[in-house]
Amino acid sequence: MLPFAAMSRPIPDPSVTRTTALRPGPVGLLGIALSDVWSRRQLIRYLVSADLKKKGRDTLFGNVWWILDPLLQMIVYVILVSVIFNRTEEDYALFIFAAILPWKWFSSAIGDAITSVSGQDRLIKQVQFPKIVLPVAAIMAGITQFAFGMIPLAGLLLLVYPDRISPTLVLIPLVAVVQLVFTLALGVLAAALNVFFRDIGNLSRHALRLWFYMSPALYGAAVIDEIAATHGYIAASIKINPFYPILNAYRSVIYYGSAPDWIALGGVLGASLAFLLVAVWFFKRVEPTFAKVL
């Protein structure tokens, strides 16, 4: 399919024909997307490392910010909630840190994914390559950031809450995989939509903020029960949110030292995989128009 893919191979006469008749169906598109990502994994790797380099280069502390950022955010919320609003949970700092860390990964990955395609307009008009690598690389770059977040988490556990250290901590990557699938699905979809509607970028900042407050990050089950007593629909929407089981799972393995709710987590994984298929299909479906619209 790709004229350039042939360059590296010693095929003497590769040929390609493009016509309007060659429009693969949904399954065909998903297959192409999969082979796009696999055959261009080196490109994804370069894009990820370029992204990380750039993020570290601008500031004095560089990548140290990946460690400081979640810590400072945690301090802000500890002051806001436990001092100003005077509502607290036991070991509140760890309670919210277990949720802030994955949320920061999610929100920054989505923010980067949204502009990943529309920001490369010049390139897309000049070079033929599978555009799906752009949102995928943007989201993969976030994993490193999340991994760096394990450093302040370890520090917090070792120095302040040594009693909370439990073997369930090794389950963190498992929960992260579920989150990654969901993030990929949403990121790929949002990246494609933002090509056609630039408002997505503006809207997303507010949507993500509201989403954070509607997720059990700063509060737990007790608060949700309180909300349910007065505003039933809000409590219900908190519970159908995919970040309800995801953040609860992180909190189980980090804060409570118990196994996550496997059934809820498995449900999110299944739904996210289905969502990912739809998102990738949509992306591939509209991909040919990117060069014309941008």
Binding site: M7, A50, Q128
Partner: protein
């Protein structure tokens, strides 16, 4: 035995490197550029048929380029020259018709489009190679040649944002021509860089052309057309107007643009 092999080889040699048949590229005006939700909603509410039109950037374009040939595409601004190159490069899909490409293709549309300002020249070579789909080992092998030809010197490890536009163009040219393509698509890139590099790039293009490689060139520089190309094609408003000897086509193009200038009463268009 040789009699059996010979026709097969001869046949593949006769097949054109680029074969374009009845190509049409349509742009939907509804979807083009800087759409916002507000516009879409307004269109939904108004339901006026006028806003949802489309525009053919190219229509009924047929031609072929055989190996060893270099074709110049000329025409006024907005005639569809760049769209045609983008279609051949696979960047834009045809809305109707067919394009067949036989051979390894490389396009030098605008040089350095994929450059990342924050990365060094060396990192950008690797990144551009990955975007072009050249495998890692091959680009590593060619790295020193690319750097040498671009003549960037010790700046190769400095961020691209510190480069002059000439340096950037040289690096882009060097990457794109390093792959030894069978088919090279060039868009107005030859006029970049200083005198020395221009001579060098001209030499490289001639060298590529000599190696039985097909070249398609889009340019406003009529000098290049007559000097370099053995065939030219004039397009206007997305249609092929004429095709033939470069001198002839250039003369026709100049006569037609002179005429349209006079009838419009204003220079350019």
């Amino acid at each position: 035995m040789t009699e059996i092999a010979a026709p097969a080889a001869g046949q593949s040699g006769r097949l054109p490197a680029i074969d374009v048949r009845g190509l049409g590229v349509r742009y939907s005006l509804r979807l083009t550029r800087k759409n916002t939700l507000r516009n879409s909603l307004a269109q939904l509410v108004r339901r006026d048929g006028g806003g949802g039109g489309h525009f053919w950037a190219l229509r009924d374009v047929s031609f072929n380029v055989v190996h060893g040939e270099s074709l110049a595409i000329i025409g006024p601004n907005g005639a569809g020259k760049s769209t045609l190159l983008q279609s051949m490069a696979g960047i834009i899909e045809p809305s109707e018709g067919e394009i067949s490409i036989r051979g390894r293709l490389s396009s030098l549309l605008t040089l350095g489009a994929g450059f990342d300002q924050e990365l060094s020249g060396r990192e950008n070579i690797l990144l551009a190679g990955a975007f072009l789909g050249i495998d890692h080992g091959e680009i590593q092998r060619r790295l020193e040649d690319i750097i040498a030809f671009a003549d960037i010197g010790q700046f190769i490890d400095a961020a691209i944002k510190t480069y002059s536009s000439g340096m950037r163009a040289r690096l882009g040219f060097s990457i794109a021509t390093s792959v030894e393509p069978d088919i090279l698509l060039l868009d107005e890139v030859l006029a970049t860089g200083d005198q020395v590099f221009r001579a060098k790039s001209k030499e490289r293009v001639l060298e590529l052309a000599k190696g039985a490689k097909a070249i398609v060139l889009v340019t406003h520089d009529m000098h290049w057309v007559t000097e370099f190309c053995n065939r030219a094609m004039l397009i206007e408003h997305g249609h092929v107007i004429a095709e033939g000897q470069p001198e002839e086509i250039v003369r026709l193009h100049e006569a037609r643009s002179e005429e349209s200038r006079r009838s419009a009463g204003t220079p350019g268009g």
